[in-house]
């Protein structure tokens, strides 16, 4: 790999600063010359989109917090005031609401890309595990935030999710501690608000670690071959800053379509009814991005096992670097793995669908099968497949594969 010499700064002020704290040298190294595999495709753009989504969420959240009132009698009305009286309040709130859905959509694609191309494999295990931590923190932030409008779904989501701890030893005591009362109440709302403001900054810190680990191991690529020589890479700027900007434009278009023309599409109408501790809505359904895990929770008739499996469904990702035994990294050269990968995607989509359906009849059976397959994929298929699968030949280097492709195109 080429070692680019540190830049020499001509501006005296920058020179002075950089001599004492090499911030400019670091940015030059990590954001401008950072050698990026030249063959990464558009699926690699979703990491930067997730970063932008996080910034949008934090920014809009800070402004919403200027007007929101965390109190059981005033929370709902304070949001109506944001929508009606605050200048562009509706815009900031809808950006925050729909931004959450977009954030999860982008992160799910980012995760699936990592699974398909084996981005979790050595030496990127830690990079991957930090990603799993970020995802768990995102779930916490989303859940805490969903409670704040204090609508019917907010209240009952808070009740149901916090009740998940009750099958644990000392569960009742823990639940009362979480609530700060004998049910979800005013103090629960206030602590959720406080934590909802905190968690995004934890996410931010872990994103920093995620990037640090990424820039240490360098990006994976569709071939799954490590960078071997300078010809394998392109500098991050301008090639990938510009490429990322293209998808950023498309991402903002999609986000803005929902914000301006279907702002409540992902929302449940019942959440515009103020929380009522005495009346549970007929169908309690989490936001779409939690549906697969909700389906797993409900698939198990045992209360404790349901909770355990639901959390295991996420934690199993962290073990992926060791569960997948294949020597070949990228799914591009693993024909059988590819089939199982798409079956897994279909299984996840099915679980999402089942999570939204009432827990009765055929849906329960289907949910159990889908849950079983989810775990079989990770715990049985991947370990065995790595040993028995017949893989295709892997090219010797990125640049060799790229020029071979060009020759093929030229002759075609």
């Amino acid at each position: 790999m080429s070692t680019t010499p540190d830049p020499v700064w001509s501006n005296r002020a920058i020179k002075w600063f950089d001599r004492r704290l090499p911030l400019f040298t670091m940015m030059h190294k990590e954001l401008i010359v950072y050698p990026t595999p030249r063959n990464i495709n558009y699926w690699w753009n979703f990491g930067s989109l997730a970063g932008v989504a996080l910034v949008i969420m934090i920014l809009t959240g800070i402004f919403l917090a200027m007007f929101y009132t965390p109190h059981e009698d005033m929370a709902f009305a304070s949001i109506e005031r944001i929508m009606r009286e605050v200048n562009y309040g509706w815009l900031i709130r809808f950006l925050h609401m729909n931004g959450a859905s977009m954030f999860f959509a982008v992160v799910y694609i980012h995760i699936l890309r990592g699974m398909y191309y084996g981005s979790y494999k050595a030496p990127r295990e830690l990079l991957w595990i930090i990603g799993v931590v970020i995802y768990i923190l995102m779930m916490a932030a989303a859940f805490l935030g969903y409670v704040l409008p204090w609508g019917q779904m907010s209240f009952w989501a808070a009740t149901v999710i916090t009740s998940l701890v009750t099958p644990l030893p000392f569960g009742e005591t823990i639940a009362i501690w979480l609530w700060g009362g004998y049910s979800v109440d005013n103090d629960t709302l206030k602590r959720f608000f406080s934590l909802h403001y905190l968690v995004p900054f934890l996410i931010f810190a872990f994103v920093f670690l995620h990037l640090w680990a990424l820039h240490t191991t360098k990006s994976n690529n569709p071939l799954g071959v490590e960078i071997k020589k300078p010809a394998d890479t392109l500098p991050f700027h301008p090639y990938f800053t510009v490429k990322d900007s293209v998808t950023l434009g498309a991402f903002l278009f999609l986000l803005c379509y929902f914000v301006f023309f279907a702002p409540n599409y992902f929302n449940h109408s019942i959440n515009y009814v103020m929380a009522d501790p005495l009346v549970t809505p007929e169908h309690i359904v989490p936001e779409w991005y939690f549906l697969p895990f909700y389906a797993i929770l409900r698939a198990i008739p045992d209360k404790l096992m349901g909770v355990v499996l639901m959390f295991a469904a996420i934690l199993v990702w962290a073990a992926l670097p060791w569960l997948d035994t294949s020597k070949v990294r990228s799914g591009r050269f693993r024909p059988t793995f590819r089939i199982f990968f798409w079956i897994f995607v279909a299984d996840a989509v099915l679980l999402t669908y089942l999570g939204a359906m009432p827990a009765e009849g055929i849906y329960v059976t289907l949910g159990q099968f889908a849950t079983a397959w989810y775990f079989i994929h990770f715990l049985v298929v991947l370990p065995i497949l790595g040993k028995v699968e017949k893989t295709e030949p892997v090219p010797e280097s990125i640049s060799a594969a790229v020029s071979a492709e060009h020759q093929k195109e030229a002759s075609a």
């Binding site: 007007f67 005031r81 009606r84 009286e85 605050v86 200048n87 815009l91 510009v242 030229a410």
Partner: protein
Amino acid sequence: MSETAHSAGTGGDTSRRDMLLYASVALGTVGTALAVWPFLDSMNPAKDVLALASIEVDLSPIQEGQAITAVWRGKPVFIRHRTPADIEQSRAVEVSSLRDPQADEDRVIKDQWLVMIGICTHLGCVPKGQKPGDPKGDYNGWFCVCHGSHYDTAGRIRKGPAPLNLPVPPYDFLDETSIRIG
């Protein structure tokens, strides 16, 4: 695409590339700047706050010689129904001899109604003189007990540390006996 790419080579069509670069940077900059506005504007007074930015006050219950205090934009507004003696006393003064020279006529719309913001121009205390038993100072107007500023029957500073007259808020008469402030 790839065919043109190979034939073009380095520096093939730099003017088109530069133009697209400038267009991207320009559009991106403009877009970001415009996107900042809703966030800044959200911190301006909200519509319900603005709706209270002007208030209507019914003057009919205020007897001659009496005063009321209205609240406008979080500040006390003194409204005094002046007696002919008050008006005469105020107009007898030589304007140029005042610290903050202003004629009585310039401080009122209707002679008998004096409307002004009741915050001492010295350090922001609320002067006394609204209630019947209050000290009214040496000029039969208002007296600020904090540092001893005396205001006359037109609310002008006459004695003490305050530099300026009590300010008159923007207001107009909706009819004979009601005003809108702000």
